[in-house]
């Protein structure tokens, strides 16, 4: 653990924020106020945060349909995100995008994406912009095990190598692509595939914040130094269904319970930090309490937020038309 207490506090807070955000949405969703598809990230927090703690404001990320964790890890405002998920006029995307399309370009967050595999070439485009600027910045795409089978991902990997672009491919293997196990859909394995393109791969236990952080630190340093694209491969699980309401017939009944009890990323981080004497249990409890308060406030204000009217539907199709 070479991170300062302040860094660790920051990372722990972000992970807790994601967890509470998602757990709370899981509770709120059945009440019927939230429309559309909601894909929750709980269980994978260490990956988004372990990666994003290595980024600064010059960098870019692009997310997936399961975007809340990536957005929060990148510093998007949880209140504005909550308003978006509730479809409010003052949401982060004016209520037009919803859960699956949260974006905040001011934070280098190029959007959650409803098209699986849509993001990787886009992130490569941002990476060539980084290279042109020559400021050592990088561009990160998050890719699920399922998404890794989309042709666009292979095309982006190949071009990233050809162009020696500062592109970071983060593969998140959570074991499932909707209702199908990762092992069914992936021919070969993610590591050797990626290495086949000449992209070096750092593997990490996606339940272990420190492991992801360190893998990402080393990988991203290579990309920043202009040595071409890199990949981080992290394995974890999602705690909830593919979407809220998924009956999860494809999954053993006790699977999640076991992961929660034995591997949970927040549980592990707490244990490590307390054992190392960096923070006490009560320090961490205080962080948790503050996060819960923040989420309570975000949900309360989202529920009362302004409903979008016709002008919001018609604006912003073009800049000028």
């Amino acid at each position: 653990m070479q991170q300062s207490p302040a860094q660790i506090r920051h990372a722990y807070t972000r992970m807790r924020l994601i967890r509470e955000f998602e757990e709370r949405l899981h509770v709120e969703n059945p009440k019927g106020e939230i429309a559309g598809f909601t894909h929750l990230y709980a269980g994978q927090e260490a990956i988004a945060v372990g990666i994003c703690e290595n980024l600064d404001e010059r960098d870019y990320i692009i997310s997936t349909h399961r975007g809340h964790g990536h957005c929060l890890a990148r510093g998007c405002d949880p209140r504005d995100m909550m308003h978006e998920i509730y479809g409010r006029a003052d949401g982060l995307c004016k209520g037009r995008g919803g859960s699956m399309h949260i974006a905040d370009l001011s934070k280098g967050m190029l959007g959650a994406n409803g098209i699986v595999g849509g993001g990787q070439p886009i992130a490569l485009g941002a990476a060539i912009a980084c290279a042109l600027r020559g400021d050592g910045s990088v561009s990160v795409s998050f890719t699920g095990d399922g998404a890794s089978n989309q042709g666009t991902v292979f095309e982006a990997m190949n071009m990233a190598v050809v162009l020696k672009a500062p592109k970071v491919f983060v593969f998140e293997d959570n074991g499932y692509s909707e209702h199908t196990g990762a092992s069914y859909g992936i021919g070969g394995d993610l590591k050797t595939r990626t290495e086949g393109f000449g992209i070096p791969v750092w593997e990490a236990d996606g339940f272990d914040y420190f492991a992801v952080y360190e893998a990402a630190r080393d990988a991203i340093a290579e990309a920043r130094a202009g040595r071409g694209p890199v990949a981080v491969l992290a394995t974890a699980t999602r705690y909830f269904g593919h979407f809220e309401g998924d009956p999860q017939n494809y999954r053993a009944k006790d699977e999640v319970k076991r992961f929660r009890e034995e591997k949970d990323c927040l549980m592990q981080m707490r244990r490590r930090v307390v054992e190392a004497g960096i923070f006490s249990e009560s320090d961490l409890d205080a962080i948790d309490a503050a996060v819960i308060e923040q989420i309570d406030a975000a949900v309360a204000s989202a529920r009362e937020g302004p409903r979008p009217g016709p002008e919001i539907m018609l604006q912003d199709v073009y800049l000028d038309y």
Binding site: A35, A89, G97, G98, M100, G146, H179, T180, A182, N249
Partner: protein, 337 residues
């Protein structure tokens, strides 16, 4: 006759056709589901809308193929399997994913027969869910049939009820040309009477759902039940209309539309698509070209606005042409002439 949902009617057609012809195969993402999962159960999904449920246990994994998330490959595989003598029914979970696989659709399957001197047959059915109604936002809610309708070589099907869904899907599977089969996701739970046994609805024959005198209303898919709602209200005031359910946008049943127009002189077209290059503009053009002499008032087009599909409930409701807007358009078309 049995009363069932559109979902079950489609499922019935798939079962029957796979039973009848062993060249029929089904492929797509999670068409069965559960492979590689920890519950040990296959057919864990049966398609994300349940349309392909039960096919894997009945017909096995050589004919019911779960794929990775690779839409371009799914459609390409269907094309190749068709050229090699099979009759694939491929599924795209959402019509929007045509965006990922469009080359295989409009450069490949649509053109084989023509380019290859009339020697190829590509009996692919590409099923997909379409439309707004679930607040699934801009990348999971589009109708896109106008884009497919403009491609020579494709037939395009848009059922509005369970009986037609069964009859049109059966026809699609037996048809030797590539067929785009668009299932409106807000209609999967719609119930109706469905003929038992073999049921075929030929392509290019619109259905006259209601007869009336004051105007001709042409509608597609979910717009049909919405138009019926509007007509229920107007009929209470003594206003009656012909309601034509297009059923297929390609081939297009011009005759039924023009014949009705010749009797009513007034035309309202209801189309969930964006207005430019839509079925609404196509049919308005048809009226201008071939029905001009009968027109007593400007054609009214009821469509979505020229915007992507918005997420929020309030916005999606504004976006989708609903019964109120249809009613208003019918009243407008009756004002003039």
């Amino acid at each position: 006759m049995a009363v069932m949902t559109m979902r079950d009617a489609l499922n019935d057609a798939l079962h029957r056709e796979m039973e009848r012809d062993e060249r029929v195969i089904v492929l797509g993402e999670d068409v069965s589901g559960g492979a590689g999962g920890t519950s040990g159960s296959r057919d864990a999904a049966g398609g994300i809308f349940g349309v392909t449920k039960g096919l894997l246990p009945r017909f096995g994994d050589k004919r019911v193929i779960d794929t990775a998330i690779s839409e371009s490959c799914i459609v390409g595989m269907a094309n190749g399997a068709a050229l090699a003598g099979l009759r694939p029914v491929a599924e795209l979970m959402f019509a929007d994913f045509v965006g990922v696989s469009f080359d295989q659709i409009f450069n490949q399957m649509a053109k084989f027969r023509y380019m290859f001197g009339g020697k190829a047959k590509t009996p692919v059915v590409l099923r997909m869910s379409m439309g707004a109604g679930m607040n699934a936002a801009a990348q999971h809610s589009q109708v896109i049939y106008p884009m497919l309708t403009m491609v020579p070589g494709l037939k395009v099907v848009t059922p509005s009820n369970p009986a037609d869904a069964k009859g049109l899907l059966t026809q699609a599977i037996r048809d030797d040309d590539p067929v785009m089969f668009l299932e409106h996701k807000a209609l999967y739970a719609r119930k109706g009477e469905v003929p038992d046994g073999d049921h075929l609805v030929p392509f290019g024959e619109a259905a006259l759902v209601r007869e009336g005198q004051d105007a001709t209303v042409v509608a597609i898919a979910r717009m049909v039940p919405f138009a019926e709602k509007a007509l229920d209200k107007l009929e209470a005031e003594g206003i009656t209309c012909d309601l034509i359910d297009l059923r297929t946008t390609s081939p297009l049943d011009e005759e039924t539309i023009l014949e009705s127009l010749s009797l009513t002189g007034r035309l309202v077209v209801v189309d969930e698509a964006n207005p430019m290059c839509s079925m609404a503009s196509e049919i308005a053009g048809l009226a201008a070209r071939k029905g001009f002499a009968h027109l007593r008032a400007p054609v009214q087009c009821v469509t979505a606005p020229h915007t992507p599909v918005p997420f929020a409930r309030e916005l999606e409701r504004l976006y989708v042409p609903g019964p109120d807007r249809i009613e208003a358009a019918i009243r407008d078309v009756l004002k003039e002439g």
